[in-house]
């Protein structure tokens, strides 16, 4: 990518396709039901349906597995166990070799896949699985963080970031505070469960349709399991019915199992997890236990802080190392921490392996520091907003993160001031105080919390992307890139970039499914990086083709390069023009190549994990939210009364799509912190594994006053695609304001006391119990 390319992408000419609120490319097909998800693909003749048998204890050793009745069940075509695998029995994404496809002997969690069955129909496969007779020797299980720490049971070694001398700074501070916060996990609850269909091809090749955020990894893991080269496997992903990180690594196991059975039988094989199986057997957001000790001055300014983050990672490493790293990277959120130590413990437990989920550890890190700030405010009797402002990153001397990166693009002082004003924060805080004095049972609370979220994969090599653009003879354009569509609007955003660059309408662009045969070696569509990276890669491809077209035009028509403009479906050469298709046909006849690959690697970033120093992020995305809640002090029931959000997306590629991400992210975050409770019983079995027991937000949980605005002055100071900013993950953390506001409402019962220690999720039960323990009026 040359700086030339960036500038061309940057300086939007007369074309008006980018920065427009274009509807999602599939919107009409979503609404008519024509949009095809993997389970909707017309089933090929001879399709086998796959189901797996799962463990029913958290830790144990298989003494004997008798599958004779399973095999004998009419309609069963094939049964496989770990002993039948032709390749490597591992699907660990970071080559930690600690996650088996099918259990080879030692069971590590309740719900682990032990064997798989392929049958003529779905119900047969499901019924057959129930006939297995499995004799297991149960072993002691580690089910929580405390026990894991006691046994030093890690999926990755503890890690530390440190700057200055926090112990001394805390010791010497005028005020001190310490506390603990427990954060629950979260199920992704994508509406479309995990699903894959594998079709055997000639010569041992395999074609896989999957609902996956990471086709390249899936390709590799299928090949590895089959004992073949990556080139033998092709993966295609048209769209996912939601993912949120839950299909970054978690899609692979099922695709691999389907491929193994397809390979073994020579027949196409499909696996679709029903909701219960999906929730029991796939990973979730990491629960955290956060302990803090902080020293601060009379203004509430933090002088020294010691943060201890213990994450429940489950039975394998999966992505837990980078996730817990990101929690550390966001333990400062928006605040300058002069002397800081952050320790991270990655606990291995006998539970399902936790994984990526929108925010990737960031939300947990931020919850810790926001709790600290609320605690400081309570101790000093100050408005928490004043304490937040006092601690924000500032200019020289107050702009270095705990990982030694300089914060250069902070817009929060201005953005938070705008939001405080537009939401009438100060006025409403007074009104609420007055309300609380006269209301017997109902108490209200309000909170304004900011978000600063680092953009880039913190594993630097992942920050690369590819695209493939063809222009056909009739001027129609085929667009392909390595990013996947999970509803976030990536495909339409990249199509807008391409249409803008060619100066054509969106109808000229054919958006195509992500396909490992078109763009290789892609990174997961994750870390909010989709449009930043794939938009740039696609633009790079377009610019290559345009360069050839310009060269051809100047040669043929004798005009200067700078006189050739692509706009409004025309190609202008000075005063003269021809339509884009006319030019394309001419170029074709003159044997100009009309196809190009594009590539992008994120500039500037580096990180040395050994010393915990570097610039892991190209830039930060910012936002802030004000939430007002009310609680019922008799029952703990609660409602969000009003939300105001101001969020910085730079120069938005598509304001409607971005607004959708902000609204949706906030509500998903609010669910994490309020109604969504994962409940394991004492044997380590998840008991909330369906929507009847696991409650994500409904329409009625979203307040009527839900004021969401994109921050007008926003522009990315880094040369990203059209100066936009990533928007996938950051808005989720705006919902920290919900939890904080609930805690404020509880705190109103005992003014002048220490901040109540409300854990998350703030269910009615946690709220009422918190009221009980922090003293009623």
């Amino acid at each position: 990518m040359s700086s030339d390319d960036v500038m061309k992408g940057d300086s939007s000419s007369m074309n008006t396709v980018v920065h427009q609120s274009t509807t999602h490319d599939s919107a009409a097909r979503h609404a008519t039901g024509e949009a095809v998800y993997v389970d909707d693909i017309r089933e090929p003749v001879g399709l086998l349906h796959v189901c797996f048998g799962a463990s029913s204890c958290a830790h144990g050793r298989i003494r004997q597995m008798d599958l004779s009745r399973v095999k004998a069940f009419p309609g069963v075509v094939a049964v496989i166990t770990a002993q039948d695998l032709p390749g490597l029995n591992d699907i660990s994404p970071m080559h930690t070799m600690d996650e088996e496809i099918l259990c080879s002997g030692e069971i590590h969690f309740h719900g682990q896949a032990l064997f798989a069955v392929a049958a003529d129909c779905r119900d047969t496969a499901r019924r057959a699985v129930q006939l297995a007779e499995i004799d297991v020797e149960e072993l002691p299980a580690i089910l929580d963080v405390e026990e894991a720490i006691r046994q030093k049971s890690w999926v990755a070694e503890p890690h530390e970031m440190k700057r200055g001398n926090p112990a001394r700074a805390i010791e010497q501070s005028a005020y001190r505070l310490q506390g603990e916060l427990q954060l629950g996990g979260q199920d992704h609850f994508y509406l479309e469960g995990q699903v894959s269909m594998a079709l055997p091809q000639e010569g041992g090749d395999m074609l896989v349709y999957s609902s996956s955020q990471h086709p390249s990894e899936l390709q590799h893991l299928v090949a590895q399991a089959l004992g073949r080269a990556d080139h033998a496997v092709t993966v295609e992903v048209r769209r996912m019915g939601g993912a949120f990180g839950g299909k970054e690594t978690q899609a692979a196991q099922w695709a691999v199992i389907a491929a193994l059975l397809a390979d073994r039988t020579g027949r196409p094989a499909k696996i679709r997890l029903d909701r219960d199986t999906d929730m029991i057997s796939t990973g979730k957001r990491h629960p955290f236990r956060i302990r803090y000790e902080v020293g601060f001055d009379e203004q509430g300014r933090i002088e020294g802080i010691d943060l201890n983050l213990a994450a429940l990672c489950g039975m394998s490493a999966d992505l837990s190392a980078p996730i817990t790293d990101r929690a550390m990277f966001h333990s400062d959120n928006a605040y300058y921490l002069p002397h800081v130590r952050i320790r991270s413990y990655r606990c291995r437990t006998n539970t399902v392996s936790n994984t990526a989920f929108r925010g990737f550890g960031g939300p947990q890190g931020m919850m810790g520091i926001e709790r600290v700030i609320d605690g400081i405010a309570a101790q000093l009797g100050k408005d928490p907003l004043a304490v937040r402002r006092a601690n924000l990153y500032g200019g020289e001397g107050r702009n270095i993160t705990p990982y030694h990166m300089k914060v250069e693009d902070n817009v929060l002082p201005e953005l938070m001031a705008d939001l405080a004003e537009s939401s009438a924060y100060t006025h409403r805080r007074k009104e609420i105080a007055a309300f609380n004095l006269q209301s017997t049972v109902i108490k209200r609370g309000i909170s304004l919390t900011p978000v600063k979220f680092g953009i880039s994969f913190t594993t630097s090599f992942l920050n690369q992307a590819g695209a493939l653009v063809h222009v056909y003879k009739d001027g129609s354009i085929h667009l392909n890139h390595g990013g996947t569509e999970m509803g976030q609007g990536l495909f339409i955003k990249v199509a807008q970039v391409v249409a803008d660059a060619f100066g054509v309408g969106l109808e000229q662009i054919k958006i195509t499914a992500t396909h490992t045969g078109q763009v290789p070696n892609t990174s997961a569509t994750a870390a909010s990086s989709g449009s930043d990276m794939n938009g740039m890669a696609a633009l790079n491809a377009v610019n290559k083709i345009k360069k050839r077209l310009v060269r051809f035009t100047t040669k043929k028509y004798g005009v200067e390069e700078e006189d050739v403009q692509f706009t409004q479906g025309q190609v202008w050469m000075g005063e003269q023009s021809m339509t884009f298709p006319e030019l394309i046909m001419e170029a074709y006849l003159e044997r100009v190549s009309l196809s190009a690959t594009g590539y992008y690697r994120t500039p500037k970033i580096w990180y040395d994990r050994e010393t915990a120093r570097g610039r892991p992020f190209l830039y930060f995305a910012y936002g802030a939210a004000v939430t007002e809640v009310e609680i019922d002090t008799l029952t703990g029931e609660n409602r969000i009364r009003r939300v105001d959000i101001l969020h910085d997306v730079g120069r938005s590629l598509n304001p409607a799509i971005d607004r959708g991400q902000i609204e949706g992210g906030f509500v998903q975050g609010a669910g994490w912190l309020t109604t969504e409770e994962l409940w394991w019983d004492q044997s380590g079995a998840l008991r909330t594994h369906a929507p009847s027991t696991y409650k994500i937000p409904l329409s009625g949980d979203v307040p009527e006053e839900f004021n969401v605005a994109i921050w007008e002055p926003g522009v990315n100071r880094e040369p990203t695609i059209h100066r936009s900013k990533a928007v996938g993950e950051p808005p989720l953390m705006l919902a920290i304001s919900v939890h904080s506001a609930i805690n404020q409402a509880i705190a109103s019962l005992a003014p002048g006391q220490a901040l109540p220690a409300l854990d998350a999720p703030a269910t009615p039960e946690r709220i009422l119990m918190c009221i009980q323990s922090s003293g009623k009026p």
Partner: protein, 499 residues
């Protein structure tokens, strides 16, 4: 008796024969009819991604109701019109679809067909919004549809646009033809299906129903299927004989018997059908009824079924018990009547014999001075199963408690009266002091368990506090609940829409 079901799929007559009577509508649509627009998100009627609309004759018109296809059996669709997302668009998108597109109401799109169908049903139910935003109406109508991407905001905006105007579409224009087509497949005799040893009976009279039960004592009675549907969709249970109650006219009776001063609720009356009548008698039923399941579940689920299945966490038994309801059981040999409270013996055991079925619930008409409330506690306000459901019925003589009945769900293995608590209150002064004593006494009534819905400590404390809430609601004017606002407008529009 016939061997095939006949239905209108969209506006096309379809006859389905030789199929497993346990086949769900969703499986049939997706696997046989190749209509894959309706999605499976949960297979338990909680996510709404499979929402379809049923058209049924009601006098000279058609009533459209959203239901969950994943837990509805194809066999129960005999004589009805089934409308799926594929039926809506013709050359243009249907107005509901267009509004969702215009407001960016889909992201991943997987839940969208379900929202389309819920909104379609709302539009055809004429749940219009007079003047205001109608948010409460929309929230109630969409409480059965989960969306994980959008945060609902754009869907609500689309709904506001759709519900502002009366709907004018192919279905409203083809109304007469559809009525005729449904008339043509109306059945006078019962339906019997048999497939590889599995039987499905849909009798058309109480007499036939009783005879079938006598002949097949192991038969499973199927009402709305919001419970039994899950045995099939989630547990792969094989139910060799199903007897479907919804086509028995006697079981649909919902009548006030002035002579006996009671409302007689047939066992097959759905929550939706009962709602207006119940709320007219006892307006305090309304907040509870709007939170039982969601629209799709209330359209199918029956009050009789909620009792018959004996669940300790059913929402209806506590209020019905405190209001002194009785239950009528029917068999081929006759009827018997018992207090509803006595029906629940212990967990999984009810006072009902093989060959018997619930015929009616008898709800006394309100006495003039009765103060009645029912409170439901759950993690989520809408469409959740209760951790605790509490019902209170109080009559005062001046300040003295003349009668008090308190019943809790979720606190014991069956819906149970709080006898010790009642004992403290009866004859005592209705005062904060008495309430305090009664709250303490409740600890003797219940030893609740801990599970994923709530811990025992919370259940007890919150139950005691609900008595406090009831006391406050009867004594002070200030709001003491955080419930959904705008319920009054829901009630007004609901009544107007059905009139």
């Amino acid at each position: 008796m016939s061997s095939a079901v006949r239905l209108l799929l969209g506006d096309r007559l379809v006859e389905v024969r030789d199929f497993d009577p346990q086949t769900t509508v969703l499986d049939w649509l997706r696997l046989q009819a190749h209509r894959t627009g309706s999605k499976e998100g949960c297979a338990e009627g909680d996510c709404g991604a499979c929402t379809v609309v049923l058209g049924e004759l009601q006098d000279d018109s058609i009533r459209y109701r959203a239901i969950n296809a994943c837990i509805t059996l194809l066999a129960t669709l005999d004589g009805k019109q089934l409308i799926t997302v594929e039926d809506l668009a013709s050359d243009d998108l249907h107005p509901v679809q267009q509004a969702l597109v215009d407001h960016h109401g889909s992201q991943c799109g997987f839940c969208t067909p379900g929202f389309v169908m819920s909104l379609f049903a709302m539009a055809h139910e004429d749940r219009r919004i007079p003047g205001e935003s109608g948010r409460a109406i929309i929230d109630e109508g969409l409480a059965g549809n989960l969306c994980r991407c959008t945060g609902y905001a754009p869907i609500v905006r689309a709904a506001q646009e759709i519900l502002a105007e009366p709907v004018d579409d192919r279905f409203s224009r083809n109304h007469q033809q559809t009525v005729s087509a449904l008339r043509a497949i109306e059945r006078q005799q019962g339906l019997q299906l048999e497939y590889q040893g599995r039987r499905f009976y849909s009798p058309r009279s109480m007499e036939d129903l009783c005879r079938l039960l006598a002949d097949h004592p192991d038969a499973v009675l199927l009402g709305g299927g919001t419970d039994i549907g899950l045995w099939i969709s989630k547990q792969q249970r094989i139910l060799s004989t199903l007897v479907y109650t919804a086509n028995v006219p006697e079981l649909h009776r919902l009548e006030i018997n002035q002579e006996q001063a009671r409302l007689e609720i047939g066992a097959a009356v759905s929550y939706s059908d009962a709602m207006d009548t119940l709320c007219a008698l006892y307006p305090d039923f309304r907040p509870l009824l709007s939170r039982i399941g969601a629209v799709q579940v209330r359209n199918a689920g029956t009050i009789g079924g909620n009792i018959a299945n004996g669940s300790p966490i059913g929402d209806m038994p506590p209020p019905l018990i405190v209001l002194g309801s009785r239950l009528v059981l029917r068999s081929a040999t006759g009827r018997r009547e018992l207090d509803l409270e006595d029906y629940f013996i212990e967990y999984g055991k009810q006072d009902i014999k093989a060959g018997e079925c619930v015929e009616q619930v008898l709800l006394p008409l309100p006495e003039a001075d009765i103060q009645f409330r029912v409170y439901k506690l759950a993690k989520r306000f809408d469409q959740d199963i209760c951790a605790v459901c509490a019902a209170f019925a109080l009559q005062l003589d001046g300040e003295t408690v003349r009668s008090i009945r308190i019943c809790y769900g979720g606190m014991a293995e069956v819906p149970a009266r709080a006898r010790e608590t009642e004992g403290v209150l009866l004859g005592a002064r209705w005062s904060q002091e008495t309430i305090g004593q009664a709250m303490a006494a409740m600890a003797k009534d219940f030893q609740p368990l801990s599970d994923w819905r709530a811990g025992s400590e919370y259940r007890m404390l919150a139950s005691q506090n609900l008595l406090q809430r009831f006391f406050l609601e009867t004594t002070i004017a200030e709001p003491v609940q955080v419930g959904r606002s705008g319920l009054d407008s829901v009630l007004a529009v609901g009544a107007a829409g059905r009139s």
